[in-house]
């Protein structure tokens, strides 16, 4: 059991993993006895999927944390901008152009404050971490898909990527050979 297991999330993860692993071990022999050939993979697959789901909890917590911070930054800026607009509103002349003038002030203040936010280090940092957490979740989801794809004897995303890479390199080599071919003919 890890040292941080007193934290609720880690404890939950530990308990879940403990039972998943133990059940997997306990059921290993009876399943092996009753299953024929490749069907044995199903139990392994279930374990892999369970592990991915459990591990994705960390990523989900991190993602929610960063997302909450993202919305907090937006709502804080909104509230601050609205305060500035409210402070300026009484000075707008009350004539037929009042609505247009109010709109202009509102847009200018909001535009300025939000641009400052988007340009700030704190926004950039949190946004980068938010995307990173989202990618972590995507990766977990992909790992789960890969288990299913493998069980169906279909290529995984990683295997397809290897094919794309190979094709890309082949295309490059062919293009290079085609460019060199007229030169080779000349030398002949």
């Amino acid at each position: 059991m890890s040292q941080d297991a007193n934290l609720p999330l880690d404890y939950f993860k530990h308990v879940s993993l403990f039972w998943t692993d133990l059940l997997h071990l306990m059921s290993g022999k009876p399943v092996a006895l009753t299953s024929v050939g490749p069907m044995r993979n199903w139990t392994n697959d279930i374990k892999k999927i369970s592990t991915e789901i459990i591990d994705s909890q960390d990523a989900m917590v991190e993602f929610n944390k960063k997302l909450a911070e993202y919305y907090k930054q937006l709502s804080d800026t909104w509230a601050e901008s609205q305060k500035k607009v409210n402070a300026k509103a009484p000075s707008i002349p009350q004539d037929s152009e009042q609505l247009e003038a109010y709109k202009r002030i509102w847009i200018d203040i909001f535009e300025n404050d939000f641009t400052q936010l988007f340009d700030s280090e704190k926004f950039g940092q949190n946004y980068g971490e938010l995307v990173s957490a989202e990618l972590e979740l995507t990766k977990r989801w992909e790992n789960i898909q890969n288990v299913t794809l493998q069980s169906l004897k279909l290529p995984t995303r990683k295997e397809i990527d290897e094919v794309y890479k190979e094709l890309h390199e082949l295309r490059k080599r062919v293009a290079k050979l085609e460019k060199e071919a007229p030169d080779a003919k000349r030398h002949d």
Partner: protein, 352 residues
């Protein structure tokens, strides 16, 4: 003392606005019903998903060298030919320039390993070689817009003998000096993880970047103006064309995106002559041909501070820098670009 009555002018304006909203579908086409093709062209050359478009001449060719335009890797080339009255291409043709345009196409998953080497040393070089052969020219003029300007700059550095003149319009050069919110996002994204996880950079990510550029002006005010001016045919036509163009962003090949963000925005290698493309180091001092750098003071996608260092970094003796009082799109597709930016550029090209 505050008046208790509502100004009748306000009520009238509100009623007129709501009527415009109700009438809009009867007056204007849906974006999907609009075709963005404007000036006629032939597809002169094709390689994978890349096409080289050759625009049909309007007048007799007056410039000595054909021009190849390297469009950006974000959005499609249509903005340079958005409507007859605001077409960059058409004005060039009217000025007697023989215009070719590289359409980078719509990359799909299979293209995720395409990188700067492929774009510069394969696609662009193939297009240049094709134009040289077809027009029997020893070298050609190249114009690059936005990220297409970065590609054109790298090309000119690696193949200077093939480029007669270089025009860099809002090129992305010095990522550390860029003051836009896009560069702030770019600097903080773990681009290796992004590309390894999702492959090509999806359009949605780019739409997010667009959404933080002037969100209230671009997200609210411009649509208010659209409905307010719904009876102005010319305004509505250009508005819808630009909107449609904005909404058609192709994905960016993963490796190209990774290199672009890391080498230019995060590590700023290009302007320091430390960037490698196809195993070769990019030395901007090797750009010795005449160069025209165009930037816009109101550019909120590529700030002038990001583009201008190119002017100082190149080895050219004959160099021109212009900072126009407009924006990123205004520089290429506006009444201002037709009146000032293009005549100046056409004259510059003819003199060379």
């Amino acid at each position: 003392m505050q008046s208790d009555t509502i100004d009748p002018k306000l009520i009238q304006e509100f009623l007129s606005f709501t009527k415009n909203v109700a009438d809009a579908p009867k007056l204007v086409p849906a974006p999907d019903e609009i075709t963005l093709e404007s000036s006629p062209y032939d597809v002169a050359y094709e390689c994978d998903k890349v096409r080289l478009l050759h625009f049909k001449p309007i007048v007799e060719t007056k410039a000595k060298f054909p021009l190849v335009i390297s469009y950006a890797i974000i959005n499609r080339y249509h903005i340079l030919d958005i409507s007859p009255k605001k077409s960059w291409v058409r004005k060039m043709l009217e000025g007697g320039i023989d215009v070719y345009m590289i359409d980078w196409g719509n990359p799909s998953n299979i293209d995720k390993y395409l990188d700067f080497d492929d774009y510069v040393n394969s696609y662009m070089d193939n297009c240049v070689e094709f134009v040289k052969k077809e027009t029997e020219s020893k070298s050609i003029s190249i114009q690059g817009y936005c990220t297409g300007g970065t590609i054109a700059t790298i090309y000119a550095s690696l193949h200077p003998h093939k480029v007669k003149n270089l025009i860099a319009t809002a090129p992305v050069i010095d990522g550390w000096k860029d003051t836009t919110v896009v560069s702030n996002v770019a600097k903080h994204v773990n681009v290796d993880k992004l590309v390894d996880t999702i492959g090509n950079m999806p359009p949605e990510f780019m739409y997010y970047c667009f959404s933080i550029l002037k969100p209230f002006e671009q997200g609210l005010e411009k649509y208010y103006k659209f409905f307010k001016n719904i009876h102005d045919k010319e305004f509505v036509d250009i508005f819808l064309r630009v909107e449609k163009w904005l909404s058609e962003t192709p994905p960016i090949p993963g490796e190209l995106f990774k290199q672009w963000i890391r080498d230019i925005y995060q590590e700023n290698l290009l302007v320091q002559n430390k960037m490698f493309v196809g195993g070769k180091q990019i030395d901007l001092k090797k750009i010795t041909m005449p160069i025209f750098v165009q930037t816009a003071v109101g550019d909120h996608l590529v700030s002038p501070e990001c583009s201008m260092p190119l002017y100082y970094a190149v080895g050219s003796q004959d160099k021109t820098l212009r900072v126009y009082p407009t924006g990123h799109v205004g520089m290429i597709a506006s009444a201002f670009s037709q009146k000032q930016v293009l005549p100046e550029l056409i004259q510059w090209l003819k003199e060379r």
